[in-house]
């Protein structure tokens, strides 16, 4: 025995999370409280996502872990190693080969397929929290669909900057009902939430909340008639693969101020370069 259960969590905790996940799927965008467990990693390292992944993962699943689109950051590598060690699962960097993808701050550029599950690490699950600190109050606001304040916040942006300045964690409405925080993905990724064939699960470790977007669910980014939702655009193409429709990171190339724009999704970029070569 290794001293811990398959995928680390004990079976009772997994069952509790699994029951909560079924309710989350049945009520798209609604935050289900769950009795989270302490994980052998600090909050901020995706303990919510890790607990969901641990509860759904099977021995035959192939797992991919990304952080800001990259498979090779410290956070992604440590979570991948964690599941290799406690579940013995096969891992991959290829989006197309993965059954379960745990992610922090991005949705892969390669379209997901039916049967895949995308697990988001969520720092703050409540989109109304910055307006209303009380959990009791935000629950009531969700119950009454009192989402006017959300529009007021976005409209203040327009008044101040001439456009909506929110670029990450841009709020969405799920199936015409719940306003939901899609986690700090760039708003560039918001359109991928709409009608996606994959199941999307969201886990917040510190606040012990989980929520879900089932496949093929209508997800709209909040906006205004005179200021429709727009995604980020770049004047550049990726310096490595030439893509002109992926999310780009600016990277410093030398100490003389040289810089370039490259895809944030490393698997997407490498796959494209492989196909071109």
């Amino acid at each position: 025995m290794n001293g811990y259960n398959f995928a680390y969590l004990d079976e009772q905790t997994k069952r509790m999370i699994r029951r909560a996940l079924l309710k989350a799927v049945a009520i798209p965008g609604y935050q289900v409280p769950f009795g989270g467990r302490e994980m052998p990693m600090p909050y901020g390292w995706g303990t919510g996502g890790v607990q969901l992944t641990a509860s759904i993962l099977g021995a035959d699943d192939i797992l991919k872990v990304i952080d800001q689109g990259a498979d090779d950051t410290t956070n992604a590598v440590s979570i991948r190693h964690f599941f290799q060690r406690v579940a013995g699962v096969e891992t991959t960097t290829a989006t197309t080969a993965a059954d379960v993808i745990q992610t922090r701050h991005r949705i892969p550029e390669t379209p997901l397929r039916s049967g895949q599950i995308l697990v988001f690490q969520v720092p703050i699950p409540e989109p109304l929290r910055f307006i209303e600190p009380s959990e009791q109050e935000t629950r009531l606001m969700h119950a009454l669909e009192e989402y006017g304040v959300m529009h007021v916040k976005l409209y203040e942006d327009i008044a101040r900057y001439g456009h909506i300045a929110t670029t990450y964690a841009y709020p969405v409405k799920v199936d015409g009902r719940y306003v939901m925080d899609p986690s700090p993905i760039p708003k560039f990724d918001n359109p991928k939430l709409d009608g996606n064939p994959a199941l999307m699960l969201f886990g917040a470790g510190r606040e012990k909340r989980l929520y879900a977007i089932p496949p093929y669910t209508r997800v709209e980014s909040l906006d205004f008639e005179d200021h429709p939702f727009e995604i980020q655009r770049w004047e550049h193409s990726c310096a490595l693969c030439g893509s002109d429709h992926s999310y780009l990171d600016e990277v410093i190339t030398d100490d003389k101020g040289g810089r370039m724009f490259v895809c944030s999704d490393t698997d997407y970029c490498q796959t494209r370069r492989g196909e071109v070569a």
Partner: protein
Amino acid sequence: MNLSWPALDDTVHDSQRLFRQVLGAMSEPGTVHELVVPTPPAQPQKPLLGAALWGALLSLCDLDTTIWIGAELDSPALREALTFHTGARITDDPASADFALLTHASFDPRTPFAVGSDTYPDRGTTLLVAVERLENDSNGNTKGERDGQSGWRLSGPGIAESRVLDIGDGAGCRALMTRLAGNRASFPQGLDAIFGCGARLAAIPRSTRIASAEARVDSREVN
């Protein structure tokens, strides 16, 4: 003494596999999933509590859950088996049940299952319903070939366009589907349902829109 109600061969991995199938069923309403579960014993009533619902119970229930059992399925042997295999508490109060075991035949829309509250809609009963028929329009039955006219057209989250699920056409089936169709008016409060027919399982969560598929089938037949 509970040997006739079988346990899972491998608690950890079988529970995971069965959960993923239930999750798939709930995520894509009306899809039919074949569960590999040891077969429950012979039972006097019809429909039987089959392998699929038994597997769902074994993978989801434990001492933190309460189960309500409809009269037609209830027996001392089943109560003992559920307690023995899962540790779940059996309750006679449907409003406090996490899971309710019933059959389509005896569904009574007046049974006061929990539907959650507007602030905590998740605190509702999940119905586990034994049915005698469970087919959809992509499980080897094209719409034109379906002999029954008892299908229900589902749409909403988890469904790209629409999907027809047929659970049979008895009065109980109609009452049940009418009750589930009523979820839309009370959303986010509502009942989530998992159907089992032998080893096959499908689900209709409260987010699903339900319409009768009869109109289209009838018009096809009339023409």
